[in-house]
Structure formats: structure tokens, C-alpha cells
Symmetry: C2
Subunit: 161 residues, 2 copies
Amino acid sequence: MIDWFSKKSCLAMAGVMVVGAALVPGISAAAAPTPAELAIGYRQALYTVLDGNFEYLGGVVKGRVPFKSDEVVKRAERLAYLATMIGDAFPEVSKSGHTDAKPEIWTHRAEFDKKVLALVTESAALVTELKKDSSNSAAFKKAFGAVGQACKSCHDDYKKE
Amino acid sequence: MIDWFSKKSCLAMAGVMVVGAALVPGISAAAAPTPAELAIGYRQALYTVLDGNFEYLGGVVKGRVPFKSDEVVKRAERLAYLATMIGDAFPEVSKSGHTDAKPEIWTHRAEFDKKVLALVTESAALVTELKKDSSNSAAFKKAFGAVGQACKSCHDDYKKE
């Protein structure tokens, strides 16, 4: 991961700098993104995508968005899949920089990983519940609440205010 | 989607504005993100996550990143899954704003959707190939090349320079 980010950033920025120098003489190109910046950018993008689907479901649960079973199942499946991508979005290289991730993630990695696993488990349970009964049921709302709790539990300990 | 983005942005920005006013008197809060901005931000995040996994595989194919079969299969599976999320990341509301998406996407939607489907198909074929033979084979490289071609074909027609 680190090697790849590092090499990608060098290659990408070499291209940017050549194009930049050709098109805008006199204006120096921005510094190449560091491996940490690339890894943090990737992680923040992953959370943006996760959040987009989570908030959709939250809107449904709160009655702001109409319940459509196909759409709700699709969003829940996405949460369950994206949750499995969180763990390796926290490589060691990404612990310093402009990030809301607390350094305790890396000093208490096993505990952090347990909290991530709870999100994987709860979002998979939400999908299971919806496949059993894809209606706007109390069980759906409860299962979604458990997903939200898994998010919050990790944020409480490992996300900066 | 539009309703949800709109409502979410209002609620989120109401919070931001209250906090902002309390903490930084005299400095006005930024304008609330529009539904278009929220949808474009979501889409760009999705492509950042896709690209992170695509470039990892590209590094493997080019020999810059060591071939590890578990990792390669995982990245290919992510591409195949994320590709299925592209279609609805282009809602009508997101056609204007700071985006590299050409307006032709929405005037030639069926053709655009075909190109997106080609990426879904080729990335699924890459996973199938790797499950048949998860070694650093010529067939893996060829299947990955077809994924890259599917990306390029769509970018050529529908992404601004």
C-alpha cells in the first residue's frame, strides 16, 4: 500500500508538474501529495461514499425519504460491503496529517479493529433482516439503529471532535 | 435522491451555521452545499475509491507492486462492486457544477449507461479470471487491460479534458 501510494504520487505529480510548467509558466506546481495525504484522501472518500448511503437510510428511517424496498436493500448492501473496506483504509502511513483519525487507532489497533468489525457485523445483519422482510418494519429500524450505534461507538473513541 | 440530498444539506448546514456563529462571531458561515454539490462530492469520492483500487492493480500489472493473490483478488472484487455504484452516482441534479462530467451524459444517457455497464462486465470478468487462476498470469493482465479500456472508453466520450 505504502509503496504503491508513494510511486503513484511520484508518477502522477511528475505528469502534473510537466503539464503545469508548460501551461502556466512562472507559476510553480503544488508539492506532490505525500503517501499520507493520498492514503487519507482515499479514506475520507470511502467515508463520504459510506455516509451517502447511510444517510439515505437514515432519511428513510426518519420518514424524510419514502421507503422503497429495492432502494433500501441496495443501500444496506452497499453499507455492508463498504464496511469491509474500512480496515485497510487506516494504514500506518496515514496516522499523521489532516485527518480526524485519532492516533489511538494505531496504538490500540486490536480494539479499533473490533469496532470496525462490529460495523461489518451490524450492517450485514441489516441486509439479512431486509432479505427476510423488506418492508418498513420495526425490525428494519432496529437493525439500522444498531448500524448507527456501531458507527458512533467507533467515532466516540477514535474520531477527533 | 434529490429530496434526501436537499434535506440532508439543510439539516447539516443548520448545525454548522449554529456552531459557526457560536464559536466565531463576526465570521459568516459558508453557504450550504447545494444538492448538486453534494451529489458531485459523492460521485468524486466514489471515483477516488475506485481509482485507489484500480491503480493498485495497475501497479501490480506494471511490476511496481508485488503480486499477492489475496490482495489482487480483493482489489478486483472491489472494482467489480464499486462499478455497480457508478450509474446512480450521476443523478440529473449533478449535471451542472464543478464536475468533469460532460453534459452529454444526460443527453445520451442510454449510451453512457452502456459504457458504465461495460465496466461492470469487464471488472466482473477480471474477478472470474482471478478465481479460475489467481496467479500473475497473462490472462490476468489481459482482463485488467480490458477494465482499463472500459474506463478509457467512457472517459473519452463523457469526461472533460
